[in-house]
Amino acid sequence: MIDKIARSVAEALAGIEDGSTVLVSGFGEAGVPNVLVEGLIEQGARDLVLVNNNAGVGRHGIAALMAAGRVRKMICSFPRSVGSVVFPELYAAGKIELEVVPQGTLSERIRAGGAGLGGFYTPTGVGTQVADGKDVRRIDGKDYLLEMPIRGDVALVKAHVADRFGNLTYRKAARNYGPSMAMAGRRTVAEIDEIHDGGGLDPERIVTPGIFVDAVVKVDR
């Protein structure tokens, strides 16, 4: 029988290794798997490559993970958020690497990882610093950059409702990076608000099919 509902955060996060690439969903405060990120601090894996839209705010969540010295490299789109304090300090001190990626390219690279593609050509960033060192190819009279896929050893996503099959729905704009990151994680763990009683979710409403999800953990909202 398929039952992806984990009894604890620790169970869901067991086995994450040092050096892992960890995808963390969320944009602003929407769709951030805060409890899973706290669990990752507990879990203890270090030397991580973290992929997130931003680079943390305040001293909680991924900022706390960075403050704990667990993150070797940050791949993100916008590390300069209001209230971001930990990352700028570490970066200025040369204690963390940074790869800045245009937002659409970042999510497309994650999708490409999940979809088994080797890379893709995008017009975004042509003629800018983003193009430095990248293959440029003229296709149909227009220039494109070659961008490479991102796969996560682990994806931590925040969803709304899950069933025992790992099928997920999201809530409003908290969907953001969740569906693409869920596809791209070799192991995907979802933090959810609610477990759907009575079997499977409405198949027409499912946003992330359970095939992409390894474990779900219900948390108090």
């Binding site: 789109s77 300069r80 990352f87 245009p102 937002q103 003629g127 809530r171 969907r175 990076y177």
Partner: protein
């Protein structure tokens, strides 16, 4: 001679809003361009896009009604209008890059005569580099309107022969709405479509490095008191 009275930011926003057609799909960049939403004429239905997976942004919620799962790209709480939808980030940027947005209104540090845009970095190495969605929006939208003052606070022109700051996108800007003028980026360079009362081409040129010309059918730029 009248001293020319430049438009305020709300007035620039109002002016842009008048040019957004009924039924358009539009992304309003974070910051100044967000003000455009306040001045969309009531008889037009415009669908506002947000990079984080929303079509159909509505006005800010009443205090106490905020839903932090429903925020815009600037991370401020918003609402959803009738006919709006949610989708994931990758689909959202497929909309952007695939040319599905009719218009995008962006702020700018600099715009070149050829329509190059610089709006993400001043090249200041002491600041963290942060791109966000700007490059995707610049390269993907069918039309790019820039909303800005003609000069910096220090009085330096922002319409240049060539951008000196790192580029956001090449040859992407279609039109600039500014405090003194509305300027198209035409094939042969910037062409003034509208300018406010009390200034002339020479006066505008003093505020731009790139050579400007007057469009044949240029008009006076006006906006209500706001």
């Amino acid at each position: 001679m009248n001293m020319a009275q430049p438009l305020s930011r709300p007035q620039i926003a109002w002016r842009i809003a008048q040019d957004i057609p009924d039924g358009a799909y539009v992304n309003l960049g974070i910051g100044m361009p967000e003000m455009v939403a306040n001045y969309l004429p009531d008889d037009r239905e415009v669908m506002l896009h947000s990079e984080n997976g929303i079509l159909g942004l509505g006005p800010s919620p009443a205090e106490g009604e905020e839903d932090w799962d429903l925020i815009n790209a600037g991370k401020k709480p918003v609402t959803l209008v009738e006919g709006g939808s949610y989708f994931h980030h990758t689909d959202s940027f497929a909309m952007v890059r695939g040319g599905h947005l009719d218009l995008c209104v962006l702020g700018a540090y600099q715009v070149s005569a050829a329509g190059d845009l610089a709006n993400w970095s001043t090249g200041d190495e002491s600041r963290l580099p942060a791109i966000g969605g700007a490059m995707d929006l610049a390269m993907g939208s069918r039309g790019i309107y820039v909303m800005m003052e003609l000069c910096t606070r220090q009085g330096a022109p922002k319409i240049l022969d060539r951008c000196t700051y790192p580029l956001t996108g090449q040859r992407c800007v279609n039109r600039i709405y500014s405090d003194y003028a509305v300027i198209d980026i035409a094939e042969d360079g910037p062409a003034v479509r509208e300018m406010i009362e009390g200034i002339d081409l020479a006066g505008l040129q003093a505020k731009a490095e790139a050579p400007l010309r007057l469009a044949e059918d240029w008009r006076t730029l006006t906006a209500p008191d706001l």
